[in-house]
Structure formats: structure tokens, C-alpha cells
Symmetry: C2
DNA sequence: CTATATATGTTGCTATAGCAACTAATGTCA
DNA sequence: TGACATTAGTTGCTATAGCAACATATATAG
């Protein structure tokens, strides 16, 4: 006869929770920085970052790259268009397909933000040695790839 | 005379972004599991987890432990009270202070969820070897502590 | 003992996330 | 070609996050 001892989880030591809180902390820093100086949300910034890398992407392509759901993306794009930070041209071949890119103003803002982002990332990662940094990055990437796989094979 | 070459960031290789997406993927898994079977949000589950560890905590103490902002906490607690998963007693000494704990039903639900959570965590971490697992955990903890410090010293 | 500060929790408001339904354009297959 | 499926993007709806203002209770300083 076995006695059933109930398990108690420690939230603090639960890895998904640690990841969540840490990620939230980081988002908070960046969110504050972007909001205060540029009135941009992280979502909006991510869209701009992708469009700087890959101009003339469609909304769907941006969605894939940023993992932003398409309805959220659509509304964020509207705001960026209103502020004239990005521009949109619809394709002639396929009238559904849009081609998005940064405007000159958008590129200016991008160039202002990048050094700030890079510095923030440095500040955040300065708790690691160089080797720890690369270890963490590698492990995180492994985990990321794994979660992507899990998502697509339920 | 120096020429100013504009830097282009790769979003995919930006660590805060990788962390965010990975964390979001994980939250998605858990969110689906808790919602489908128990109609609980992750926030609600975290509150229950803390109250199982530390019964008779006040809302403020739960907020500290879970990093859930107090207004969100307040509303989540209301729902858990409505569902009779937790109970609340206000202290006699200090009538502001509440003492929260799981009800019997709450403990039943907790006991149902724990093995599920543990299994999910295993599935998620099975992309790591044992040593990688502990490495990642250690590094994540370092980063977490660091972000907490950064938050409190702006 | 009173005035002020602080602590605990709640409520109001806004912005965002995310799902689902929808429109419009294009592709496919019989 | 014509019915049906798929794709791109938008809009509606609900739930949640998070800030600020608030109400109430307690602590503290003069």
C-alpha cells in the first residue's frame, strides 16, 4: 500500500516562470525607453527593425519574422503609416499583397534607436562573462528551436 | 574624415527578442493547457501555486512572489474567490491585510494541475542534456537577478 | 491627540494581445 | 469556366496588462 504524497511546486524554481519574469523585466526596460523617447511600442519597433533588414516585406512576412499575430500587426502598421514612419505599396501582380518599407523619417528614427538598443543589450548582458554570454545564447536558441517544433507538432 | 556607416540590427539575433519569443511560446503551451482543462489563466494558476507554498499570504505578498501587479492580482483574486478555489480572511489586528489560502477544491485542482505542469516542463526541457539544463537554469537565474537589480536602480 | 505619511486593496481607464469572423483577391480542379 | 479553397489583410470582440487615482486602515511625528 503506497501513500500518495502531494507534490508542491516552487514557482520561483519553475523554469517557464523564471523565463517569463526575466523576459518581462527586459521588455519593461525597452518598452520604457522606446515609449519615452520615440512614442513607440516594442511591437512597433520590431516591425521597423524587420523592415530595415528586409524592405518591401509583406505584412505576412513581417508577421513570420516578428511572431506578431496578424491582427495586432495590422493595427500596428496603421499607426506607423499614420506617423509616416513606414510606407506601403500594394503589388500590381497581386493586389492583396502589400510591400512595406521604412520612410526616410522611419530610417532616421531607426538610426536613433539602434545605438540605444545595443547599449541596453550590453547593460543587460554584462552580468555574463563572454563565454557565459555565448553559452546562454546557444542554449536559448536550442530551447527556442525546440518550442517552435513543439508548437507545430501538437 | 570618418564615414558614418549605419548599423542594422538582426531582430532574430537580438537576445531580448529571442527571450521574449521563447517565453511567449512556453506561456502559450501552459495557457492552453490550463484554460482547456481548468478554465484558469496562467496568472490565476500562479496565484494558486504561491498560496499552496505559502498559505495565508496577503495579496501584497503574493504580488511580490509572482511579480503580478496589484490591480491585476486584485481582479484575479476576485475570480478565484467567486469560483471558490481560494478563500480570504481579513486580519483582526490589521483590517487592511487579507490572508489568502486555497480551499479544498483549490487544493484538488492544484493537485490535478501539478503533474501536468511538471510533465510540460520536462517535455520543454528535453532538448537539453542534464548538464545543459543546469547550465541554462544557472545562467537564467543570473540574468534574472541582474534584471531585478537594474529595475531597482534606474 | 491631531496632521501627515504610509500601507493595503479596489476601481477606472487605456492600450494591447489574441481569437474568430469577415472581405477581397487569387489559385485550383473538375 | 465556374464552384470551391486558399491567401492577405482588416475588423469586431473579449480578456488581460499596467498605470493612476482612489478609499480605507494604520503608523508616525510634532
Amino acid at each position: 500500500m503506497t501513500k500518495n504524497i502531494d507534490t508542491i511546486i516552487s514557482l520561483e524554481h519553475f523554469l517557464p516562470y523564471q523565463l517569463y519574469v526575466t523576459s518581462n523585466n527586459l521588455s519593461g526596460f525597452f518598452s520604457d525607453a522606446y515609449k519615452d523617447k520615440f512614442a513607440l511600442s516594442i511591437t512597433q519597433w520590431r516591425i521597423m527593425a524587420v523592415l530595415r533588414e528586409l524592405p518591401d516585406s509583406s505584412a505576412d512576412e513581417v508577421s513570420l519574422k516578428t511572431h506578431i499575430e496578424k491582427s495586432i500587426l495590422s493595427r500596428a502598421i496603421s499607426k506607423l503609416l499614420q506617423r509616416n514612419l513606414i510606407q506601403r505599396v500594394f503589388s500590381q501582380q497581386d493586389k492583396r499583397r502589400s510591400m512595406l518599407s521604412l520612410t526616410c523619417t522611419g530610417i532616421d528614427v531607426y538610426n536613433d534607436i539602434v545605438p540605444l538598443s545595443v547599449q541596453y543589450e550590453k547593460d543587460i548582458l554584462n552580468c555574463f562573462s563572454e563565454s557565459e554570454k555565448s553559452q546562454f545564447s546557444t542554449l536559448l536558441n536550442t530551447l527556442y528551436q525546440h518550442t517552435e517544433k513543439l508548437k507545430n507538432t501538437p
